[in-house]
Symmetry: C2
Subunit: 215 residues, 2 copies
């Protein structure tokens, strides 16, 4: 009578099916849009039986939420210790996450599920996004630096990014994201303890952050 973990059979075929379904979901979302993703279609493309998907995920909403959640947890940047740089990193990460294939579609997918689940999905999505910025702000506060409230960051950095990506407004690229952060930091609401602007020329190309070409 093995009791082991909650996922009593996490490897082998199960894992293979899970991966195939995830990949197929991402592909389909960016091809036809998250609204038109159906379980039979995902199963077909994944080379998997539809009933397996139904048994595992139940609904397309749950499937999309699962994929989106795992997706958002990839490549999270770590803190550097400089508020402005940390905010920039978080902003660039947000932009990258939104801009990659299916990014907006997944955002919309999380917005889309059933009326009951909608609140929960949105809340989780918001939590996930603001967590990155909150970490940067919290670290700054812990260092004794002045930092804008999270709300201001959401309003003046995250919101414009979402808005512009959703509406495919041109020039929504990394420079633009950096500009939003700069504007926020220079708006007189932050007391910069170290007002040295850009002492080093980009020491971190880091996560390539890729091409912000609106998808």
């Amino acid at each position: 009578m093995p009791v082991k973990s909650k996922d009593s059979r996490p490897g082998g075929r199960s894992a293979r099916v899970r991966a195939a379904v995830h990949r197929a979901t991402v592909d389909l979302v960016q091809e036809v849009g998250s609204e038109k993703v159906t379980i039979p279609a995902v199963a077909r493309r994944a080379g998997v039986n539809p009933s397996s998907v139904y048994r595992r995920w139940g609904t397309t909403s749950a499937l999309l939420a699962d994929v989106a959640a795992q997706r958002q947890d990839e490549g999270t940047p770590e803190l550097l210790g400089d508020l402005r740089k940390d905010l920039e990193r978080a902003a660039l990460w947000t932009l990258t996450d939104l801009s990659r294939p299916g990014g907006v579609a997944f955002f919309r997918a999380e917005v889309a599920p059933d009326v009951d689940e909608r609140r929960a999905g949105l809340r989780e999505c918001l939590e996930r996004v603001s967590a990155r910025f909150h970490a940067a702000l919290d670290a700054a506060a812990r260092r004794g630096e002045g930092a804008p409230p999270l709300e201001r960051v959401l309003d003046h950095v995250v919101a414009p990014l979402y808005f512009r990506v959703v509406f495919s407004i041109p020039e929504t690229n990394e420079d633009y994201a950096r500009g939003l952060v700069a504007e926020l930091c220079d708006s007189g609401h932050v007391a910069p303890s170290s007002p040295d602007p850009d002492p080093d020329p980009d020491p971190d190309p880091g996560t390539n952050a890729g091409q912000p070409t609106h998808a």
Copy 2:
């Protein structure tokens, strides 16, 4: 052979059916969400034959777009001649439009159609929204006043409103909308009637409309 208008039979039963379908669409969108709205369902609730809806609108996307467009054209405010007041009006109108039952759902509906139509729908939605603000800015420019570029208004007023309504962030009310406009106008990028571009007004940006301490 009567040629008259493009809508060769706009009144009577046709108008009745149109109205019933529109009402049913709005109801269903706010009840089950725009993704789950189907033509048979709308027809059932409207007491109308499904084929009539199929023939008139063709797809649910087209139907939703039609309803959303007509919806957005209701109750448009006129200009007062004062930039700040006009921007406030536009912001409040935007907030009201988004907040009423099904508001966000319709926004998403316009975002949602087929990959091909998506661009067009989004573009139209954006045009419609920014037109209100553009009118206010244009009038101000015509009066010789300094006015922020439309882009700034979209980023710092419209985007936060959309973001907060979509994510159901509390305290997103009229005071908050007014605060966004105030912050924009007082941020030193607008030259008020009295040309005093003091970069550091330090008036304790009192109009901090809502300061909801994060949700």
